[in-house]
């Protein structure tokens, strides 16, 4: 297989894709736009390093991915990621034996309609609930659930310990499930 780079086609072929990719992970229009620009420019400057193994799109995406991680690292330097014990209080009764609280416990009827929803309806709900997560939790969950990155890579990007990482994943998952559940049953 012979992959070649065609930079004159980059903007028309990949700008929208890369922009969507960055926007989902950065959540700022301006920053996402700048990252796309930087990706194309650094791709162009580093064309000599392209080995032709990955296709053009994958190659450009991996450049963008590294730039996104750089942004995460920068952010981690200025603001520490913290999770409070009280963040779990809504879900589990911490006074007693850490059982589910009545308000947050899943029941057999909840989420049952998820797979029957129209694609765009489901997208709307999942989007809304992802966006309600604190920004860093959304970024961490995205890296794990969608990009399937190694835990180690994610911990480095956000400057967190594996134990903190799992607390975030756990907490984010509880909140997402709860949010989708409540949205489905109140809409």
């Amino acid at each position: 297989m012979n992959n070649t780079l065609q930079p004159d086609q980059w903007v028309s072929n990949y700008a929208d894709y890369l922009y969507s990719y960055a926007h989902y992970r950065i959540n700022s229009k301006e920053q996402a736009e700048d990252l796309v620009q930087e990706t194309f420019l650094s791709g162009y400057k580093n064309m000599a390093q392209y080995k032709g193994i990955a296709n053009e799109k994958t190659w450009l995406t991996s450049i963008l991915k590294n730039k996104i991680i750089d942004v995460y690292r920068m952010n981690a330097r200025t603001s520490k990621v913290v999770i409070n014990e009280s963040d779990f209080g809504y879900f589990f009764d911490e006074e007693g034996k850490s059982h589910w609280t009545n308000i947050a416990a899943p029941n057999p009827l909840t989420l049952s309609g998820l797979d029957q929803l129209q694609q765009n309806e489901m997208r709307r709900i999942v989007d809304k609930c992802m966006d309600l997560l604190p920004a860093v939790w959304k970024q961490v969950s995205t890296m794990k659930l969608i990009d399937e990155e190694k835990t180690e890579t994610i911990c480095k990007a956000f400057d967190i310990t594996p134990s903190n990482f799992w607390v975030i994943m756990h907490r984010a998952k509880l909140q997402l499930r709860d949010c989708i559940d409540k949205t489905l049953n109140h809409d």
Binding site: P7, D8, W10, V11, A15, D16, Y17, L18, Y19, S20, H23, Y24, E33, V36, Q37, F40, L41, Y44, K45, F88, F91, F92, K97, S98, H99, W100, A105, P106, N107, P108, T110, L111, L114, D115, Q119, M122, R123, V126, D127, M130, S141, T142, K144, L145, I146, T151, E152, C155, P162, S163, F165, W166, V167, M169, H170, K173, L174, L176, R177, I180
Partner: protein, 95 residues
Amino acid sequence: MIKKATVNNMEGKKKFMITCREATELTVISEFEKLSFSRRISLWFHMLICKVCHLFQQQSNELNEAIKKNEEGKSLSLSLEKKEEISLLLNELRK
């Protein structure tokens, strides 16, 4: 080296009976990593006796699928102005 993931609440304590909070954390971890034998047994036993956590386990899996599918179909458009700007910059470089 990064040490193996530990459930914060369980650190140091090796106990067979775990709480719902611990069980759900182990559930999330087990979606990505292999748990130690004793944790697997604790989780398995908890799931036998706790219907709510068992449901969480099922729904958590469905959620993973939904989130993955959700991002795949995403398509936003980069503004025309920005596209032109980038094209110009690339042209400059090519000279």
